[in-house]
């Protein structure tokens, strides 16, 4: 647990591009929420491999959002089911259903639809929010944080050694 927290702080304090960290969070969120039987998942995994995003942070956030997806499952299902059965959208879904590609994505599954909508809705806000938070943290909070007495105390603790060992 300490290692994970230390790793997380390490990413924040590292010189890594905030865009890569934000992307890692977004990909982690997307893959965590997306059910395993959709072809979207494979596409997202391929994108993670190809696009520069912090892999450790991605794995951490993926795990986190698997848990979120489990908890939010009824909500996502309800959202997807409402959209799939909405009268006004039937013509769009029917057109998509004629295509083998879209059938492979399992877009007609309530959970896939709910998750996809949640991912699309959250992607940009999460990306920019995380980016802003990282930049703000690095510019303003990091130095203030270092000056705190508690930080001085922690520097002598096991946690700090763990943190240091990651740097080495």
């Amino acid at each position: 647990m300490l290692t994970i927290l230390a790793k997380f702080l390490k990413f924040l304090n590292s010189n890594q591009n905030p865009n890569q960290l934000s992307l890692a969070v977004c990909f982690g969120l997307a893959i965590g929420l997306m059910p395993g039987f959709s072809m979207f998942l494979i596409i997202l995994l391929m994108m993670v491999c190809v696009i520069k995003a912090n892999l450790s942070l991605f794995v951490f956030i993926w795990g986190l959002f698997e848990a979120v997806a489990y908890i939010a499952d009824p909500l996502l299902h309800q959202l997807g089911y409402t959209l799939l059965t909405a009268e006004s959208l039937q013509s769009i879904w029917t057109v998509l259903a004629q295509s083998s590609f879209w059938t492979l994505t399992a877009f007609n599954n309530s959970l896939v639809m709910g998750s996809s909508v949640a991912i699309i809705t959250l992607w940009l806000p999460v990306y920019f929010l995380v980016r802003v938070l990282i930049v703000t943290y690095r510019q303003q909070i990091q130095e203030t944080f270092k000056q705190l007495k508690i930080t001085q105390l922690l520097k002598g603790s096991k946690f700090f050694h763990t943190y240091q060992s990651l740097g080495n």
Binding site: N17, I51, H77
Partner: protein
Amino acid sequence: MKDIIRWPGIVFALIIVCLVYFLLEPLLKLVIEQTGSRTLSTTVTLDTVQIDWSEQSLTLKGLEIADKDNPMTNKVEVDQLALQIDALDALTGHLISEQANILGIQFNTPRSEIGTQDSADKAADKSNNADDKESSPGFDLPGIGLPDIDTLVSKESSLTYKRYQDFRQYLDEAKSNYKTRLAALKDKQKIADYKARFKEIKKAKGFMEILSSASKAKDLKKDIDKDISEASQLNKDFKQTKKEIKRRIAELKKSPQQEADHLLQKVGIENGTQKISQLIFGPEMKAQIKKMKNWINSINDSDENTENINTKAPTPERGKGIFVQFAQKNPLPVVWFKDTVLSGDLSGIGQEFSFKGTATHLTDQQTLSGHPTSLDLNLKSDSVKNAKVNLVLDIRTDQKLSLSFDVKQYRLDQKPLSGNFRIDSALLDTQGNISTINDQLAGEINADLNSVSLKTSGDTFKKYPAIEQALTDENHVTAQIGLDGTIEAPQLDINSNLDSIFNNVLKKVVDAQLTKYKGQVTEKIETMLQQELNSSESSQSDLFAMGDDIAGSEDIFKDLIGKL
């Protein structure tokens, strides 16, 4: 670009793609085995799966589907199943193939390892098997085992007795009718009244009284004339009735003979109308139709199962969601082999044939493919020169099955036909068409058996070796079989040259016995009739005795007129 793209990642992705490419075959093998086993509730195994990307073809080798009820046996085994498939359709769960080869199909082959998953419905299937194993029943030849006379002739069913009852009713009605009419005519009160009126007329004196009497005499004459006319009519009717009674008695006396003829004809003795071919070929034909019925039932069952799967309401599970179905312009069946080359052998299902042929539109959902399934097979074996079978199954709206076949020189050896007959050897040429629509059956089969050696068994012909000899001597048998009715209760109309052979011999053989039997039947009916006629004799005498009274009634009134 360098900031965005992770080049080692691309290499990693490529490695993954290559791994999937190489591992796809064992992966697909696993998927087919697991999905097949789950769907069919029995073990499905495969030796290898080969994918040819350039040809877009999939080859399954060594496919074995275990028998649910017999775990050490494969229900079906296929050596090679090669399909040209559309990869996109396949990925969406539709196995659509323009050209398929299903080679080395075998049934009920032994398995090396136990292969069962679910033993449900075993009992039901066992009962079906028990039905299949029903032995062909033997039969009695009614022409030889002449029916018991008392059973054949009974008052209740006797035509003569019915005729006698009609006669008796006629006699009783006539008797009652004449009695009433005679009583009305010879009414004493009326005659006394006539006499009184006559005396009164005679007493008349003086001009006015004589004048009045003349009018009264005229009225009296009119009444008496009326009675004379009635008496004359009664006499005439009575003579007619007498004649009719005599005619009916004469007819009744002939009736026992007629009835005996009719009865013997009815049991098929007199005119050689026995359908022995029905008894010889019927059980075997019915057994074959029953097999067909079981097969159709199994198709219906699987169809119902499919429907059940489709109509089952989806229940949302955590992490699974619900698949909402949308109308598709061209919905596809799950499995659809448009053109298929077939080969295999039927030894596993008790037929000695191997087969080669083609099938079109093999599918589990004809309503979606929009085509009936058709099979053209050439059957081969050492014992047949040429056999072609065409089967068309159309379950898009009704359950329609059409089977036509043309078999040349099929050697039959030791073929049991019924409990009393078997073909020791024969060469069969047969053509036929059988069709079923839902439960309705129709069809026609022509069979030509050459070089026939027909054997009989049991005690049926013990007393009549000539019949047995005649049947076994016949070396050419033809049969025209008409099928009708329902699959559950098929009606067979079989006409064969065996019928006339049998009936000719039967007639000769049983002629003497038949004459005696006919005499006994006639005698029995005559005795029965005589008893009844005796009981009606007094009734007849009473009626005939009225004759004198009826004849005399006219004279009474003529006397009165004379006096008047």
